[in-house]
Amino acid sequence: MSQSNTSQSQISTLRRQLTQNPVSQFFLKQREASIAIIGVLLIIYFESQTSVFLQHDNIINLYQFTAETAIIAAGEVMLLILGEIDLSVGNVYALAPFIMYFTVQDHYPVVVGILAGLLVSAFIGFLNGVVTVFLGIPSFITTLGSLYIINGLTLTISNGFPELTPGTGQIVNIMGNGPYSEIIWTVIVVFILQFVLSRTRWGMYTFATGGNIVGAKEVGINTNLIKIGNFVIVAFLGGLSGILASFRISSIDPLAGGSTIMFSAIAGAVIGGTALNGGVGTVVGSLIGVIVLSIIKDGFTLLGISAFTFDLILGISILVAMLLNVRLQMLRKAGN
């Protein structure tokens, strides 16, 4: 009896020390900071091992890994906070540039093509949202269906062949081909979405809907609108990311993106501190999560470690991140 009592109180003392110690306080509150520190340590390690990690070419390489995924991850965070998910966004990524391509084939200017690609992407998000919300189908299933539908559509309209990206001049540089274009787009997207999340009604309602949907409805929040709107945001960003990629590499590949980029984005978001069961998450965290993943991937490539091992590491990282999320949430709740 007394034995177990002592260990009980020891545990609670330990927990108090853990949660009240200023250093762990910092890590509990600043999840992004702790992930960023891991990223910096990884950079130091890879630089010391390869001595080319921080060279210009490799940095460029690194950010190309990062930018397109981070743009998608930023949108996916909004859905994850809602306790929803979009599995089809990587296929929107592949479809959008084809919509642009065929619009330009029809003798419209490139800008119109880009807008058409984005519009179709947003519309797919709208359909995902409407089906999920009004038919009550879990978004995991809804977007699994649209994943295949969109993929089939892309393969059909392209006949499975890649095309050259249309357009010349400044628009091409702005939309992904310029050396810093994708970085700038990523920063803009992350900045805006983080701001929306923490400084606007939309963000507050997104947290409210994800945290307690019944409560959110009872205070009069239109939770259906919030959900559908965030499905539109993530699909729109999938389209934007795909269009940027098509300008960066000057060709449009029907097999680009897909589940690979979608899962990387979700992995980045989770590693960056977003809980899959809703209510918690930051866009900046997802960016840092995706950067850390890219650092690992790139570092492994430079070290000559195989892609197979990378998947192994990725899987472990996700599990560890999820465990940390759960543990940290428990500690946070025990904190006060």
Binding site: R199, F207, G215, V219, G220, V280
Partner: protein, 267 residues
């Protein structure tokens, strides 16, 4: 509001079905400004359903709702709110992941003038001041609601309802999650609100607490109001009698259906 006999909120012949389940059969009741009406009844009697109808969260299957004696169709919570009707739900409808001030301002946020951006600084200050005027003590308005005690949450929920000048306050079991001292603080809060001429309908389980603060009692049984009287020294006894009679009827029904079962089985 010149006429002191005018009902603040009145419902007539309200019924509500959820598919085959009849939650409310035929309910009529009303409450005046400065009056507290206690609504009591067993679990499943339909009390929460009635509150949800009066706050525009669900619509009745039939019946009419009058606010200030004008027929109103409460098609949404937001609309009911514009009429001065505020509700504190049984499940509190608080968002645990958001802070106290965010919860208090949810759906009526203050924005930085001329922008779509939240004015967090001003919201914190105003929430803090308002809680002080109600005598609600919290460590900080920045703290997540998940970290508050049951009583603190309830106080915040009521404060939130009053925050936008509620004229008609509906409380669904406001004392349920609370210790005796916290409960007393909430009862005092309700008494103060009556003095400020707020119309209150309060659902309660604990008759002693309901009788302490309410002016009139309505008993809801199986979707109908079966008792409507001002609170007097006899109220407790009367209510106890009704409940005991009810219990006996239930028992008899149980016995006879058990007997019927037995009879069926023996065939």
């Amino acid at each position: 509001m010149a006429d002191t006999n005018m009902s603040a909120l009145r419902v007539e012949h309200i019924s509500k079905n959820y598919g085959a389940v009849t939650a409310l059969r035929d309910v009529s009741l009303g409450v005046k400004y400065g009056e507290a009406l206690g609504l009591i009844g067993d679990n499943g009697a339909g009390k929460s359903t009635l509150i949800k109808i009066m706050t525009g969260y669900t619509s009745p299957s039939s019946g009419a709702i009058y606010v200030n004696e004008e027929l109103k169709h409460l098609h949404s919570v937001s609309y009911a709110r514009t009429l001065g009707i505020e509700t504190v739900y049984q499940d509190l409808a608080m968002i645990s992941e958001l802070s106290v001030f965010q919860n208090m301002f949810l759906k009526r946020e203050l924005l930085i003038r001329g922008t779509p951006f939240l004015d967090n600084g001003r919201m914190k200050r105003e929430a803090q001041e308002f809680l002080l005027t109600l005598g609600v003590k919290l460590p900080s308005v920045d703290v997540e609601v998940s970290k508050l005690s049951g009583g603190q949450r309830q106080a915040v929920a009521i404060a939130r309802a009053l925050f936008m000048n509620a004229k008609i306050l509906l409380l669904d079991e406001p004392l349920a999650a609370m210790g005796a001292r916290e409960g007393a603080a909430i009862l005092e809060l309700i008494n103060n609100l009556k003095k400020k001429n707020v119309a209150i309908i309060m659902i309660g389980h604990n008759y002693a607490q309901v009788l302490e603060v309410c002016d009139r009692i309505n008993l809801l049984q199986r979707g109908v109001i079966t008792y409507d009287k001002g609170v007097s020294s006899n109220s407790m006894d009367e209510l106890n009698d009704i409940i005991i009679r009810e219990y006996r009827i239930d028992q008899k029904q149980a016995e006879s259906s058990a007997a019927a079962d037995g009879a069926n089985k023996s065939h």
